[in-house]
Symmetry: C2
Subunit: 193 residues, 2 copies
DNA sequence: GTTTTTGTTGATTGACGAGTCAATAAACTT
DNA sequence: AAGTTTATTGACTCGTCAATCAACAAAAAC
């Protein structure tokens, strides 16, 4: 049943299926066949479009980071003033699309992938750098010279809250996660110079 | 060359080799043969003593958590008063033995293992609970009702700083990691009630 | 309407790796 | 000295899985 113009649809389906499969399995040790089946095709087709398992993973990772980025940008669009914008960035990091069980678990696994895969590492680094730069930019007028350190601390805290959520048994508690991070922001802004 | 009383020595060697191998590879996808070779024995012997790869991993994880615990206790032993003790706990988390490249990378990978392996998950949970309880105990006299939230935040921040260190290309910067976390403590203690 | 491009899969290959086993040997027991 | 326990490994089995390939089908191009 070959329908023309299938490529982008198939690729998207595979990326989605990869995130779901890795997220559910909680591990990168999933087979191409599993992913392909979930995406409704044969494993041969998955290889046909992506060439290798590695490339499938990288595409999925790119997708996750893109979603993060988009949600942060979305949250940012309505915010005015440094404090509002700072809080919007944090909020964006915990929005619906990103702070979901499989997404979190998949993210953790891609983090591990970045330990071995140079391209995965590059992607993650680019993303982190951009995030830190955004945070620093809003923090500068709020905490001055401390901006760099606070940006790093915030980034690390967000990552930490994420991996802790990956380990929780119930559905991740978005509100509580957000509370922890926002209170960090509160503390830093209380004593601003 | 069978020397009697080899079991504990072999087991220890395997645990050590596992942490090193996983840490270096940055992945759990290492073979029993690799681990065994590094520990100076055949893979058959590794299976003989541990029964399965899974059990080898669990033993390695237990070892890592034990080392953490010991270092925290060590740091705690000389500290007096809640604030000193709180800072000692943090310090213990970043001590020489734990905050090392392979240990960090291995820890991250065991974190991932805990997503799938019930026993690994249990171990990690027990460890986290104890750590949080320790933190809370020292925080209570310092920040009162906020103790629970701060303990959680601190725990998450420490985890976050760890995984970020796993991604760094150079040797992990212990001093900087510590600075980030200690400043979090500073902020929380500044406005104590 | 034939050729080319795009889509698709079942079957196969080839490698790798966990776990088992039989065999060998040194040390301890009686 | 014979028997038992502990240590140790090379060789093998068996399953799994990424990747390839040959073949078929439909649409597009010519």
């Amino acid at each position: 049943m070959p329908k023309v113009g299938a490529e982008p649809i198939r690729r998207a389906a595979l990326v989605k299926a990869t995130i779901e499969t890795v997220g559910e399995a909680g591990s990168l040790e999933v087979t191409v066949a599993q992913i392909a089946r979930r995406a409704g095709m044969s494993s041969a087709l998955a290889h046909h479009y992506f060439g290798s398992k590695e490339r499938i993973f990288l595409a999925a990772m790119r997708s996750i980071l893109t979603i993060y980025g988009a949600e942060v940008r979305g949250a940012l669009s309505t915010a005015a003033g440094p404090e509002q914008r700072l809080r919007a960035i944090v909020l964006g990091n915990f929005s619906q699309g990103s702070f979901r069980r499989e997404a979190i678990s998949a993210w953790l696994n891609f983090y591990v992938l970045a330990q071995t895969q140079p391209e995965a590492r590059r992607l993650l680094r680019v993303y982190q750098r951009r995030m830190r730069s955004n945070l620093r930019h809003e923090l500068r007028p709020l905490v001055g010279a401390r901006a760099e350190a606070v940006a790093r601390g915030l980034g690390a805290l967000i990552d930490g809250v994420y991996i802790r959520a990956a380990l929780a048994e119930n559905a991740p508690d978005r509100a509580y996660a957000l509370k922890i991070v926002m209170e960090y922001v509160d503390r830093e802004l209380e004593n601003r110079t």
